[in-house]
């Protein structure tokens, strides 16, 4: 089972080699075996999954089946799913049964896919290791002493361990690409606006974007076609038509211009990661691509800008968790202020509180211009860096993360954790798409190559990644843990 890709399962379902019930049952068994060790799911919705599988099988028998009909998937627990607990990895929402479904969940339901459950994540998507989850850390299937990355750590670990062929994650500053890199899978953060945010519990609204996490670029292409598109319920979603991404995977790479941002190969980059990335670039040269150095001069300000803008938006987005209408409420509040203070003090974890405090401070009178306004100016400069680079080259390549997965508990202070995102954060600030693909190993832990494209160039990114995966087999490697639960 852990060998299967979404594409191969879709083919098996289509050819009648397997039913959705069989696949779903197999995956549920794998989850049952793996979870005590891995902790990649917050909720496993076995009953609903089997019911959807049966419905998908019936639908297929009647001749009504799309590409994803009957394909089991896992969803990050940030997507509101009607009738299912949607916790966002927080005690605050431990009791929250979503009364409606996110647009992407509706789209997947309409496509007939089967949700196996909701995956673990850093609390409110704030983290790079999945250690801030109220539901405990997730283990990396490649090395159980390592983190899976974050915040979509559960989604990445589940796919790597073969607990689902593919999953959905969200990415605000690297939360799809970094865990994809740490877990040796393929993960795409689409252009801001490509996928509706409606029903995705907001962390930083101007940066959040949902995307596919799977074993191959081809799988990601199928999943992206299913979830992308304009949504009248999200004013920031783009009114552009959605290509059939999978049908655009055949283009040869001869003449492709690859830029290597100097700033992405500097201090702090682990030598093993750098050599894996440079080796991958050589593979592209053999496929006919040309390579040159480029500069993204404002890169060094990206983290600072991000850690002003994202917490500012978060401090406001998380105000609704006040114990009044839903979520955690403290016992016996004395008055309204007591209700607010204790409900929030009890419901939020350390990292969430830290970011709310940072955001509240930077938006305060007297600080707003120095922090928020300035960070927005930096953001425009960073975006312009990328636009300038894409005048010269087609795609940019670099590492997805400065190191492979680090040990659980290794990052003790918040700032060193924040520095994990130095190669991913600027991409969210610029709103462009980025994909991480497996490109080697260091000490038994996967290394991810990050490929970046201009706005709405997902088809190109997926094709570039796909062509690489045609001539390499990093993405086909399986962790020992996955084999143990076969």
């Amino acid at each position: 089972m852990s060998d299967h890709t979404l594409t191969s399962l879709a083919a098996a379902l289509k050819n009648g080699d397997a039913s959705s019930r069989e696949l779903t049952t197999d995956y549920l068994k794998r989850i049952e075996r793996a979870e005590p060790t891995l902790n990649s799911f917050i909720s496993v919705t076995a009953e609903q999954a089997l019911a959807s599988a049966d419905a998908a099988d019936k639908s297929r028998a009647r001749g009504h089946a799309g590409y994803l009909t009957g394909v089991p998937l896992a969803l990050k627990d940030i997507f509101c799913t009607q009738g299912v607990k949607t916790s966002c990895g927080s005690k605050m929402l431990d009791n929250f049964i979503a009364p409606y479904s996110a647009t992407v969940v509706e789209k997947l339901d309409a496509a007939g896919s089967v949700s196996l459950g909701k995956t673990n994540m850093d609390e409110f998507a704030m983290g790079s290791s999945n250690e801030s989850s109220y539901y405990g850390a997730v283990k990396n299937p490649w090395d159980l002493s390592a983190v899976p990355g974050g915040s979509s750590g559960g989604s990445a670990a589940a796919v790597a361990a073969g607990l689902a062929p593919a999953s959905l994650g969200t990415d605000t500053g690297g939360s799809i690409r970094q865990p994809a890199a740490f877990c040796g899978i393929t993960g795409l953060k689409p252009t801001y606006g490509r996928v509706s945010r409606y029903g995705i519990i907001a962390y930083a609204s101007s940066l959040d974007q949902a995307g596919p996490m799977a074993r191959t670029a081809e799988d990601c292409a199928h999943l992206l076609s299913a979830i992308a598109g304009h949504d009248v319920r999200d004013s920031t979603s783009a009114a552009r038509c959605v290509p059939d991404y999978a049908s655009e995977l055949g283009a040869p790479l001869a003449g492709l211009k690859i830029g290597l941002p100097r700033e992405y190969f500097g201090d702090g980059l682990a030598p093993a990661v750098e050599s894996a990335v440079r080796d991958a670039v050589k593979v592209f040269e053999t496929l006919g691509a040309t390579v040159c150095d480029v500069s993204l001069p404002h890169t060094r300000y990206a983290n600072a800008a991000y850690y002003v803008i994202a917490p500012a938006e978060a401090s406001s987005n998380l105000s609704r968790f006040d114990g009044v209408r839903f979520g955690h409420r403290c016992d016996d509040p004395e008055d309204l202020l007591d209700l607010y203070m204790r409900s929030r003090a009890e419901g939020f974890g350390e990292e969430v509180k830290r970011r709310i405090l940072i955001g509240t401070h930077t938006l305060s009178e007297g600080f707003f211009d120095a922090y928020y306004t300035k960070a927005q100016r930096v953001r425009r400069l960073i975006r312009q860096d990328f636009l300038d680079a894409f005048d010269e080259v087609d795609v940019l390549m670099g590492p997805a993360s400065p190191t492979p997965a680090f040990d659980l508990g290794a990052q003790k202070d918040p700032v060193s954790m924040y520095l994990q995102d130095i190669y991913t954060i600027a991409i969210n600030l610029a709103g462009i798409p980025g994909i991480s693909v497996p490109a080697g190993f260091s000490g038994g832990r996967p290394v991810g190559l990050q490929i970046l494209g201009s706005h709405f160039a997902e088809a190109q990114l997926l094709n570039v990644a796909h062509q690489y995966q045609q001539v390499t087999d990093w993405h086909q490697q399986r962790p020992a843990f996955a084999k143990e639960i076969d």
């Binding site: 509101c80 949607t86 009364p99 907001a202 920031t236 009044v324 509240t360 938006l363 009178e365 928020y372």
Partner: protein, 489 residues
Amino acid sequence: MQWETVIGLEVHVQLATRSKIFSGASTAFGADANTQACAVDLGLPGTLPVLNEQAVAMAVQFGLGINADIAETSVFDRKNYFYADLPKGYQTSQMYHPIVGPGEVEVSLDNDVTKRIRIHHAHLEEDAGKSLHEQFTDETGRDMTGIDLNRAGTPLLEIVSEPDMRSAKEASAYLRAIHAIVTYLGISDGNMAEGSMRCDVNVSVRPKGQAEFGTRAEIKNVNSFRFVEQSIAYEVERQIELIEDGGAVVQETRLFDPDNDETRSMRTKEEANDYRYFPCPDLLPIVLDQAYIDHLRDNLPELPAAKRERFESKLGLSTYDASVIAASRDMADYFEEAMRVCGDAKQAANWVQGELSAALKREHLAVSQSPVSARQLGELIGRVLDDTISGKAAKQVFQALWDGQGENADEIIDTKGLKQVTDTGAIEAMIDEVIAQSPKQVTQYVEAEPEKRGKMIGYFVGQVMKTSRGTASPQQVNQLLKEKLDALV
């Protein structure tokens, strides 16, 4: 010392859209609690706002109505604060780039004077829900607060004036002018009792002649014209007394208590919220092109100031009549229809301002609820103008129409026999009868100084009119009586 009052108003106008500003839930007033609050209004995790274009159009119409600049690009900001009836923990508003730029409103004051009040800007925002503090207790009998989110997300236009008003009267006149504009435009029902219009009043005082403003107090949520005047009157007196006693006004928010006719401190500047405004990342800026604005401008109705001016200059109404009638679109429409039917603006204005307004006031009705239609009144006035009935009889006909005793004036004139008698012979006969029955008065008249007789004739006129049950033409009665009585001298 002579003091001058300085007043600025922030008026919140509920826009008459069918659905809320950022969701599809209904805005209808009076539904059961929380039945008109959808996932977006409840601020459920993951929900997003989508702007109601109708609210934008209404804001632009208002801007055009006060000759303001309309912003090509305006932006929604989040105003962050915690309150139990504020579901998201922030109010979506427009702080830095409001949709309507500076404009002005012409306000009519009592003594036929008009004054221009400048408007700083107007911006769109969402309303909060309501906290109900009085009706709930928990199982142990402790007081609880209920939250009704039906109102949450109702579109508001907040209209912020410059501190241009100098008296309570000017403030309420300004509020009336705003009321007239928004109801003329049809962008709000203007129903103050239901909270469709309410305002925050900023009041300060300064020694007359001083250029700098005094420290102001803001009186929150005043919801009637009368309360605006009362709260300002109280507040001005409080501030002057405070200063004259050697104290100082502190900048603070106060609440008006109409039951005790006083304002009370709510919170001082030190306790004020830092709202941490920043642009709402869930909403795109509103970008308006000139064609859109022009289209709305071309379709604007005639507004109160233009109407008042036309009533005065083209129809010859007094400034007072013109402003009172033009203050309400319903009243102006009624007047214009009555005038069209009878063909006489002054008479129509007299009737609308006189008999009609008095009757409406007596029975607490709006002009739209008048039992006498504008057409009926116009026809009635027509019968006075063509001498079919006397003015006095006309009042009886009006009352009969009001009471539903007939379809139109003609029918009532017929059934009540109120047609004016203009037959000289018939009137002479009635005069002769009255003279014969009033020997004492006749003797007095004959013996009186000639210059005093003019007044004394009134008695005889009254008697003749009574005899004719009001149907005799008063002019003829007057003339014939004079001839007959003078003949006796």
